[in-house]
Symmetry: C2
Subunit: 491 residues, 2 copies
């Protein structure tokens, strides 16, 4: 293990970048803005995928797969959506390389192999999917159509950061079609709820559910429902969005259905997605200056056991004891690693698993064998406890739940501390400077939103679902407002 992490208080951004690399989660690749997700980072993504996929299926969705490429003519069909993504599209223009006649052993693009129509690498798949749905939907019997896709997408971002903003990222995108406006809105809100449940129950990351203002809405949507989390540096993270798309895509791709009454109607749509960005949120919600802190429900390794021994005989005695414990823990569905490598000393192993955020560490030595005990350390609080061997299974099971709960509660406490209610612009600026969410009245205009952003770099994260109707005045303009909205600087 190389030298220590930068402290969060010194340079939060540097701490994050170092942690992602040192904890073996991901690294930058040879391709500008694209990351390599390393096995340990990918194992977290697999855990996330498994839970989300289960939740999507339980709410009636099926998976499918649509092409990576979108022909330009389809891509531009829904104009607002196309306009929103045009500036960050990777475009395939040729389909062949050839030997470079001027450069032996090198290749060049074959000028003869130019595509008649350019292909956009999907930044999102509404266009290609709605062009397909046209063939799938004829009658009300074909609705609702509830489909999800796990895929890679590409958005040519100029400033990238591992997990948080990369040119290529992995995500899931749900695309549903409905007979009525109400049904589509219900679906979009349901998926917002699914995302919030996942964020809070599995990631232990509290989120505010709300709706986006006009300027922050997804290109091509009528409404964007969002979940917004708060990171330890006081910045907000948009963690997942679910869009009510109205009939925009149905009209752009001419997707109609015959109703029960025999009328031809345009279909109503939603789309919703979360991405590998969630891993960034997970890291920034819980981790500390010692490294990663993972909630047990998403930790690839929940418990690590490190033997402390002086010779092979001791290791064998310890291993016998540990193997029985491993079996019993696994029976409970707990993932355990027994690290008996002899190439590293216990201290180095302790440091490694601390850095990698393994929730529970068990150490067991010769003395423990004599006493029938072992030492259990929890990653979240760094507390250690000596526990009787015959109580270890129940103790660990309970401890994992406790850690999961503690992480959530800590994050809730943090958010409480960093949510400020303000009533004028002086307070507003002070609160934004402090960091966190700022709850303030806003007059509902894009102009005010823009000016506030210009003055403070804060944007409207959402109009919370739970916002109370109350009379108030806009913090900037003094114009009337009926609801508080949440502002913050954001990732």
């Amino acid at each position: 293990m190389s030298k220590k992490l930068t402290k969060r208080s010194e340079d939060y951004s540097k701490w994050y970048n170092e942690l992602v690399v040192k904890a073996d989660l991901a690294e930058n690749s040879a391709v500008r803005g694209c990351m390599v997700i390393k096995p340990y980072g990918f194992a977290i993504w697999e855990k996330m995928q498994a839970e989300l996929d289960r939740m999507f299926k339980e709410t009636g969705h099926e998976n499918a797969y649509f092409p990576l490429f979108v022909p330009k003519s389809l891509f531009e069909a829904e104009e607002k959506n196309a306009e929103g993504f045009a500036k960050e599209c990777a475009v395939v223009t040729h389909y062949r390389l050839q030997n470079d006649p001027d450069n032996e052993g090198k290749l060049r693009v074959d000028p003869e192999a130019k595509l008649e129509e350019e292909l956009v690498v999907r930044p999102t798949s509404e266009a290609i999917i709605w062009n397909t749905y046209k063939g799938w939907i004829q009658s009300y019997r074909d609705l609702p159509l509830l489909i999800n896709q796990w895929a890679n997408v590409v958005r040519w971002e100029m400033r990238t950061r591992l997990f948080l903003r990369t040119a290529e990222f992995l995500w899931q995108e749900g695309h549903t079609a409905h007979a009525t406006r109400t049904e589509a809105i219900t679906e979009a809100k349901q998926m917002q709820d699914v995302y919030a449940e996942f964020a809070e129950n599995f990631m232990a990351m509290p989120v505010v559910k709300g709706v986006k203002s006009d300027s922050e809405r997804f290109a091509g949507a009528e409404d964007t429902y969002t979940i917004e989390a708060l990171m330890q540096d006081g910045k907000a993270l948009q963690a997942g969005t679910s869009h009510f798309l109205g009939q925009n895509f149905a009209k752009a791709f001419d997707v109609k259905y015959t109703s029960k009454e025999g009328k031809q109607e345009y279909v109503w749509a939603t789309s919703w997605g979360v991405s590998t960005r969630l891993i960034g949120g997970l890291i920034m919600t819980h981790s500390d200056d010692n490294g990663l802190v993972l909630p047990p429900k998403l930790a690839p390794i929940q418990v690590v056991i490190v033997p402390i021994y002086k010779n092979d005989e001791q290791l064998e005695a310890i291993s016998n004891k540990v193997n029985a414990i491993v079996i019993d823990l696994r029976k409970k569905g707990i993932s355990v690693k027994f690290d008996d490598r002899d190439t590293f000393r216990p201290g180095a192993k302790f440091a490694e698993y601390e850095l990698k955020g393994v929730p529970v560490r068990i150490a067991i030595g010769n003395r423990d064998l004599e006493n029938g005990t072992l030492e259990i350390a929890r990653r979240d609080t760094l507390e250690k406890k000596t526990v009787a061997q015959d109580e270890v299974i129940a103790f660990v099971e309970n401890l994992l739940d406790e850690i999961q709960e503690n992480l959530f509660n800590k994050a809730i406490e943090y958010r409480k501390e960093y949510t400020t209610v303000v009533n004028d612009f002086k307070e507003f600026k002070k609160a934004i400077k402090k960091g966190g969410f700022v709850s303030a009245h806003w007059d509902g205009t894009e102009e005010t939103e823009d000016r506030i952003k210009e003055y403070t770099k804060a944007t409207i994260r959402c109009i919370p679902n739970e916002a109370i109707e109350e009379e108030g005045v806009c913090v900037l303009t003094g114009n009337p407002s009926s609801k508080r909205v949440l502002f913050a600087k954001a990732y």
Copy 2:
């Protein structure tokens, strides 16, 4: 359900294309050569993925994710590999679209946004991965490195067919690094065994394990181990390959490790992959003129239950009975669908599930309720049987195993019938005309291989692992040969 399938005996190729579409597995998309995998087809892929992923992890591999794009300079580093794929590469040349000034509402590629270096959409990931491994491997302690990736890849094929050959396809690609030649070869062979086990035990598709001849080897490999299956039209399908890459990529990307003895050595490599092509193999191994036939272990729905009723009262009585059966079947880990839709008649449902290859269909009507019976039909033989309700769970459990076994045995029988041992070229041509594998002596030269291909369209599928050393003469040239190899026309 629309009109009947074309018969296999009339036009096998047309039968296949129709079946893929009618059984809701996949369809062509708006993008040349790219397919849409529909939910039912994707559910089969998910089942395949789950089993393969488990098998990879049980053999010590971890998943990771590497970029979709490969910079041209990396792509061309391993020359043979680059040469092998250059002709089918989709190339990204630009990263932005803009409004087309000559065409209102349309977009065009922004000529200002040309990439300095073109990006190849990965046709396979050796280049980008070995460029990454360079940073991961320093010492013998970092080896072996055992990594797998689930991903999409693009190969610009001119003639495409759903699942069998598409411009974009889904696959997994394992990429491993080892300290010694022997260890790498052992790994490559181990993965060939894993693929064979999956093909035979889960897909019920018998395969021949063997090694490729020089001309059929993967570009950049020293040896390609393959599993070859036989389709019902007598053509062979390469179902999976595992490559021993020698030190080719280690040298191209300068990946060395320090050995225990302190010496700098190049690393040894393997790569191995199977793709959505397997779904094509699955279809063509078992299906019949009535539609898809799926082996129970990979069927998204293993058992469908269709109620036969005249009124709501009858449906309710039947449903009460069925719900209990459904619960008991699910307890056994069997996936069951109770299709009580009132928009379709039983006959239409029977036809649908026959077409979709559901292994077991249970029908239950009013008379059955009185008699305590139900009717069970198996998809593979189309046989029906009346079974007592209280025996249904054990009966179905047993029947699913029987169907799985029967499908494999049938395929084995077929392969026996269509494997011909020949000793001269007249016999050879006759056997190739009949179809199937032809076991023949070959003089080991590429020239002979090419001539045989020219005369008969047959290629060497593999030199079987189980080939016996025997003296013989090449069927074409009469030159000496020590082993029989397998020829066939192939997909």
